[in-house]
Structure formats: structure tokens, C-alpha cells
């Protein structure tokens, strides 16, 4: 499953690279809500483009999913439901949702369009998954910190379709439990963890203290598929077409080889195009540190004292530069929505 966001031309290229499905965000049509999905301020289609993208995917025999995975108050919810109706009319194959209220409303409206629970919705065990199944959700997108043994159990107990991220950004927190973005922006995730900061006391942390490693779970593909994962997802709606197609093609080859009973090919060179130099497999096969800054500054052999010295003086003051950045992002988002 490949992310899309920059252009309709990108859709063609990504499908040609082997994606079975695409997902993308859509820009709100009214002022009631500023954003309909997380992480999508700068890369969303308008409704007309969304319709075209869905039609394009269908012409290639592939599926198209649309993210509506933020959380909404009552006034916003009406606007989101209206957008969802448009997308259902456009034959979107699934809506990726997180808000229980939206799921509740769409239960009666969705027709043949499926509901997939976003990672923001936080179904991390079989009981949560079963609850969402009863609300009409057919697929759960799991957090990147779930072990394959847990994936297997959830699959066996619920029978739900499961989807996991295998490549791209890695949330340093748990999706849906991080308040960093709401502190900065008053909204859900705009990825402030990826930004650079002016740090007074935490010189060791470098300019990106919150930045996670890049997820690359290519080598975990055999275990993930064996555990019952139905779809693997590439993160990065904001990424370039070249990036997405390269990653997509690499995972396509890997999955096809495994499906044919062959061993997983060696990790292709094309997967070394990540934006972060340090990668992680997530927690699929075991837990590891996910913060890039810790590996960079402390190193794998750091003593406890070194680590504490690194962590303890964490008091930060964010300079005017930070506020300018916030205004710049908001201004850009407004321009795009206009």
C-alpha cells in the first residue's frame, strides 16, 4: 500500500511500481475543520483530484483508500461526514478513520466502502480490535511497536484484516497518545518531532531531539506475512514520487518472492534512500531504541551514567525561530486550502 499526495501523475507511477493500493488525504471543503487527516497539511488532494485518483486506481484494478483519521469536535464532525459521503459516492474502497464518533456515524452510511481503523485509533490488542470490528471496521492498522506474536494472536482471535507499516517515518511516541503537536499547533500530528529546535541545555541531543529513526522492516517481511498481516504500508504521503516508487518496487519484489515460496531477496539498494541515516525494524521482532538522537550521541555501548547525563538536563527553550516555523506552516496550509 503506497502513499500518494503530490499529483495524479504520481498515482500512475506508484501503481506501475507494483502497489496494490494507494492511500491519500483530502482537503476539507469548508472552514469547519482545518484538516481531515493527520500529517497531511501540505499534501492533500482536493475532492475532484480524490475522485480522479480513485477512478485511476480502479482502472488499473487496484484499490484506493482515503484518510479521515483525525479527531473531531461536533461541528467538525458534520463537515467530515459530508466529505465521507462524497468519497463513498466516489467509490473509495475504504476510509481510514480513527474517531469513534465518525465510525459511529458512518456505520449507517458507508455502503460498500470499508472502514479501516487508523493507527491513531489505537487497537493494540484483540479486545480493542473486536470492539472496532463490531462497529463495522474491517481492517486494523497496527502500531509499529507490536510484536509479530501479538499480531498473530490478534489475527487468530478476531479474523480482522491487519495492516502494518513497513517503511518510512517512525513515531517516537504512540500514535494518539502524543501531545507534542497539540502543544505546538493546537492540532493533532503535524510531526513536530521531525523539526529542528534550538536547545539550551541539551546540546548532546543535536538539533532534532525528538526525531525517530527511519522504519525499515523489510527483513521482517517473512515473519509479518506468516503472522497473518494482510497489507504492508509505506509511510510518507509527503515523499517524492521517486522515493515512493523505489520503496514500493522493493517491497513488491520481496512479497512476490515470499508468496512464491522463495527466500526473501537481500535488502535492495533502493531501500537505502531513506531520509534518516539510522533505521529500525520497529518492534516487530524485538524492542529497540527508536530515537535517532540517542544512537547518535550515546552510542550502543553507553554506560548508564552517560545515558543519564544525556537525558537529565532536558530543559528546552524554543526560540523565536520555532514560532516563525509554526506561523510559516500555518500560513502555507491556509494558502493551500484557499
Amino acid at each position: 500500500m503506497a502513499p500518494i499526495g503530490r499529483s495524479l501523475r504520481q498515482v500512475e507511477k506508484v501503481l506501475a511500481a507494483g502497489a496494490d493500493s494507494i492511500f491519500f488525504g483530502v482537503r476539507p471543503q469548508s472552514d469547519a475543520t482545518s484538516r481531515l487527516s493527520i500529517l497531511a497539511a501540505l499534501v492533500e488532494f482536493d475532492l475532484a483530484q480524490a475522485r480522479e485518483a480513485i477512478a485511476l486506481a480502479h482502472r488499473h484494478g487496484r484499490r484506493a483508500y482515503v484518510t479521515l483519521n483525525s479527531l473531531y469536535d461536533g461541528t467538525q464532525l458534520d463537515a467530515v461526514v459530508a466529505m465521507a459521503r462524497e468519497l463513498i459516492d466516489a467509490k473509495a474502497d475504504a476510509l481510514i478513520v480513527a474517531d469513534p464518533g465518525l465510525v459511529h456515524r458512518l456505520g449507517r452510511l458507508r455502503g460498500s466502502t470499508e472502514l479501516h481503523l487508523s493507527v491513531v485509533g489505537r487497537a493494540t490488542n484483540r479486545e480493542s480490535a473486536a470492539f472496532w470490528r463490531e462497529q463495522g471496521v474491517s481492517r486494523i492498522i497496527l502500531d509499529r511497536v507490536i510484536h509479530v506474536d501479538e499480531i498473530r494472536r490478534i489475527k487468530q482471535e478476531t479474523g480482522l484484516e491487519l495492516e502494518v507499516f513497513v517503511y518510512g517515518g517512525f513515531c517516537f511516541n504512540h500514535h494518539g497518545l502524543c501531545r507534542l503537536s497539540s502543544y505546538f499547533y493546537g492540532e493533532m500530528c503535524l510531526a513536530p518531532c521531525m523539526d529542528r529546535y534550538t536547545v539550551d541545555d541539551l546540546a548532546h541531543a543535536g538539533p532534532t531531539p525528538f526525531r525517530s529513526k527511519q522504519l525499515n522492516a523489510y527483513n521482517a517481511l517473512p515473519e509479518l506475512l506468516e503472522a497473518g498481516v494482510d497489507a504492508v504500508k509505506i509511510e510518507g504521503r509527503q515523499k517524492s514520487t521517486a522515493y515512493i516508487t523505489a520503496v514500493c518496487a522493493a517491497f513488491r519484489r520481496g512479497i512476490d518472492a515470499l508468496s512464491a515460496g522463495e527466500p526473501l531477496p537481500d535488502i535492495p539498494a533502493s531501500l537505502h534512500i531513506q531520509t534518516s541515516p539510522i533505521t529500525t525494524e520497529g518492534f516487530y521482532r524485538g524492542e529497540e531504541n527508536m530515537l535517532e538522537s540517542i544512537d547518535r550521541e550515546v552510542g550502543a555501548t553507553a554506560s548508564l551514567r552517560q545515558l543519564v547525563n544525556y537525558l537529565s538536563p532536558i530543559s528546552m527553550r524554543f526560540a523565536l525561530r520555532r514560532q516563525h516555523k509554526v506561523r510559516e506552516v500555518k500560513s502555507r496550509a491556509r494558502q493551500l486550502s484557499d
Binding site: 489505537r122 479486545e127 470492539f131 497518545l177 540517542i294 545515558l307
Partner: protein, 263 residues
Amino acid sequence: MRVNFQTEHEPTGDWSADAINLGERFCVRRFLRRLDEFVDFAKRAALPVHLLTPYYVRERDLDTLIEKIAAVAEHFAGVYVGDVGLARRLADRNAVTYVGSVYNRDAAQLLHDEVGVRRLQMYPPRLASLAEVRAVLPVEIVVHGHIPISATPRCPVRSHLGNCDACEQVRQVSGGPAPLWQRGNTFYAGRKIITYGLVSSFVEMGLDSVVIETFALDEKQISEVSAIYHGEQPPPNDLVSGMFLDDAGAVLDSEPWFQRFRR
């Protein structure tokens, strides 16, 4: 309107609270290890004690949590749960307060009808959401104290050292007395929330209860804060509301992003 104190350590002294929320929200292993302490306190306490349970429940921990919590739930006035699956399993026999991202009436209704949630605890929401959700379920909000940037057990100390308890082994941190975990687990400091100026709005909305996070407050400060929220003492003039503002821009410009840790 009741005033609850929320803490991960056994409360001492007279804090003039109406109830105490006691437990461990971030780490499952620590929660299980300390559960007997929480039960012991609940048995001795003169006030109702609610059990705070870990908000993030992985599949591997689910069965253990259900079993252990169910076994001791009778000693508590209710349980705070952040996972919808765990909430559902406990709701039959316990008064469950759901702690989560619930911002509209439909979501509250679903949790009430299908999960059995009796009350919601909301971290600083927009006021519009608060009024809307309150129409369906009793709402408790955190009005004062430290709020970490996340509620997460994904602690880099743990993941780096491969030892869940590594942080607790640290007793001297830059000259300060606190082990890292006492800093709210999320050592990247969160902001402090102060909402004296909105108390009258909360009362008008008919809020069931408000919560004061006691992290980083000493006993004297807690007593003062309690008196103010109980209306027994006027709020200081120089402290105004934060984080409940509808205009996020105002928050951006008004305060430094993070509170400094005590050093």
C-alpha cells in the same frame, strides 16, 4: 464539583481532596509490581480511591491486566482505563472512567452504549468539545498540574538499555533527587496546566469533577491549589488559564513551550 488528586505515589497528609486517583499509567510492569501498594492504600484511605491503569495495553499484557485488576477492583471506587478493549472487559463489574481522545457527542455515546463507560476523563480539550461530550457522559478534566507530552510506556531509557527498570535505578540526576520515572516517565517535560480562570465555566458546564495532577507539587502547594478549586480561597491574580483556549495561536505566543525541570 469534586476535586480529585491524581498521583502515582501514596498520598500523605490532608489535601482536602474529594477523591484520589492512584496508580501507574505508563508502564505495565511497574503497575503490576506496585498493585499491592495501591490496594493497601485504598483499604486504609478515608477517601474514595480510584485505580489508574496503564493507558497503552499491548496484546501480550491484556490477559494479565484483566485478571489482576478484576481481582482487586472491589477495593476501589472505580478504575481509569485508556484502552477501549480493557475498558470493555472491566465495565461489567467496575465503574470505568475512560481516558482518551473523545471530542464529540457521537464518540461519547458509542463508548457509553457499547463499552459501558460511565465517565470520561479528558485532557485539555477545546471548550466546545467539553460541553458537547458532557451532555452524554459525566466528564472529569485535568485542570491543574503537570501534563507530560505523552502518555506512553515507550521510554527511550528502557528501549536503549533493554531493561524496563533501568530508569528506577537512577537516584541522582544532575544533583536532583528524583529518578527519571518520577518525572512522569516522559522525561521530555510537558507543560504545566493552570486553569483557575476557567473554574466558573467548568461549574456552569456541570462538570462532575476536576483533577489536580500532583506531580511536582509539594504538600503545601497541593493544599493551596485544592482550596482555590474548592472556592475556599481566591486564585492569585498572576495565574491565568492555559491550554483550554480555543485559539491555539494565543497559546503559542503566550508561554514557553516547555516547563523547565527542577535541577
